[in-house]
Symmetry: C2
Subunit: 390 residues, 2 copies
Amino acid sequence: MLGNFMYSNPTRLYFGENAVSFLAGELKNYGPKVMLTYGGGSIKRNGVYDDVIAALKEAGKEVFEDPGVMSNPTVDKLYEGCKIARENNVDLILAVGGGSTIDYAKAVSVSAWCSEDPWDKYYLRMEAPDNRIIPVGSVLTMVGTGSEMNGGSVITNPAQKLKIGHVFGDNVMPKFSILNPRYTFTVPKYQMVAGIYDIFNHICEQYFSGTDDSASDYIAEGLMKCVVNASRAAVKDPENYEARSNLMWCATWALNTLIAKGKTTDWEVHMIGQAVGAYTNATHGMTLAAVSLPYYRHILPYGEAKFARFAKEVWGVRTDTMTAREAAEAGLAALEGWMREIGVVMNTKDLGVTEEMLGGIADATFLLGGGYKKLTKEEVVDILRESLNA
Amino acid sequence: MLGNFMYSNPTRLYFGENAVSFLAGELKNYGPKVMLTYGGGSIKRNGVYDDVIAALKEAGKEVFEDPGVMSNPTVDKLYEGCKIARENNVDLILAVGGGSTIDYAKAVSVSAWCSEDPWDKYYLRMEAPDNRIIPVGSVLTMVGTGSEMNGGSVITNPAQKLKIGHVFGDNVMPKFSILNPRYTFTVPKYQMVAGIYDIFNHICEQYFSGTDDSASDYIAEGLMKCVVNASRAAVKDPENYEARSNLMWCATWALNTLIAKGKTTDWEVHMIGQAVGAYTNATHGMTLAAVSLPYYRHILPYGEAKFARFAKEVWGVRTDTMTAREAAEAGLAALEGWMREIGVVMNTKDLGVTEEMLGGIADATFLLGGGYKKLTKEEVVDILRESLNA
């Protein structure tokens, strides 16, 4: 652990089957006007909406509804939310949903009182907020992004063909989040598995970088093992509470900054996957799954020791009689076996990618260089071609 | 992960060789009067005091010194600190030292404005604070207790022969902590090794309990592996920055509530070790080391599966051809090998315990029952007898 860093995660988490019973108490810490932000209405079908409204009533709040947050929240929706927040001078934004809804709530929280166009200031220019920030609380219904305990907020501008994520500081993180694993039981299996791979890959992105001995990597290994184990149980039985609770908790800790502390990180799989997503509108976690193995196999020679460690520590491969290269490859073989087992998408063809798109996707891919090898555009094309028919 | 819980750790951490450079910036968030709390003066010899004074000056603070915090801070010292804090109406208590100094600073923070005897209210009756709390910041110079990011505060009342730890909520946790691994280089080797075992045992106390599949246990395993690896490097070369930084970070995360979330915990080694400490005044970590193996061997039959998992996941023992019992025993054998290797005290005789003390120590031991077997007083005596001449 060689890097200098600051760690601050003030989000208060309530976890478990009874977590929502603490919502009314938390609400008492804020003024009377609450903006209730949610997505397409699935929370009205599964009872979560009723639980939340009951708590809002108990706390005596005046509620301003802001439904219809889409999976990739747009800047137009942001402007709409800002208007509701500002005109009603709300004291709290309560986001009920998954990462998109919470990301959007954070965007409104910094943008509502911004005197210029928030898209320019907070997304194009990535400035730190200097205006009034409306506090955000969340009730999580889908796991993966970690938005419930981080400052991340991704907003899409369809007119400009831009999707930008700003990771704000701890003053924008949710003040509290309600995490009830049962709320995730009704997520369809495809989305659940995509979410599981998203969690796993968040950990990989922070793990496959750096060569120093770092506490963060040991914690990452623990989380990866837990995700793998819980995923098997959850795929078998999506209503396995123990498994869903472990997945929910791992998702939060996979991306709340902890396991990136003191080290460099990669994030190239996300860069390629997001570019694939921009061309296909495919489910985020599946885009990551489809490009991961070609990417990792490509960079393996540059990070052999870490991939060999991954084999031994995460997958329990007996590496002592292997060369480092053999061990590293065995780690990726184990990863592949697990991916096929839980049923993620293994190639980009199944997501709608065609040979003709490869150049464009490669152009849209940011080349970060935090991993074991900074890719060239040509290498991205090679990786994309491999993942087309993998 | 089956339990319901709340998680909140608002402490802002600055970590690394340059961490103290952020102190002046943090100080600006508080009023002009700062109480500077520290121990016996080693910080004046190793340069830490000068670093801190420079930051206080840079931030334009008026400083009220409160030196002389002893390793087991007493209630009389607490009254003295409260007087300084109250009479000068300080805005912040800045604790510079190890766990004792930070524990004491938290005690002053809740006690200074308490209208009755704080010993009665906050330690004997363990009440939650309902008076003004003075914020605390810390500059850590010794690792082990995790006091830099938790609400724990242990105070000793010598007249009443009582040493009581109150774990306060997040409103009493330090607002910020400065963690510079270099500040720990000058800790004597005996204390360093005792601190390492203290960290490791904090993790064990939370790990050896419960039978459900819990993300907390996977994180615990990662931390244990990191501590073992870093300890070997630190014992070889106490100025190995990488190793000391991993130990410092693991110590914080071993006891900031994270790895206890959603599960039951044990803490019986601490109960026995603290009773040994009350009779011998031996170094805390060494009392834990001296009683651990007899305790774990005693409860092994009741928690066989977990000890077998410990062997496989923490120590890399190839357990697949072993019975659960053999695997469990192999785990403790590996633990013993590591303890001897880093040089902790392996028996209580070396700490000054005699056969005559055993009954009294057993009487002074709280029997908690959170681990795999709730001990009887007779069992504690057996364990103490085994650890006498181990």
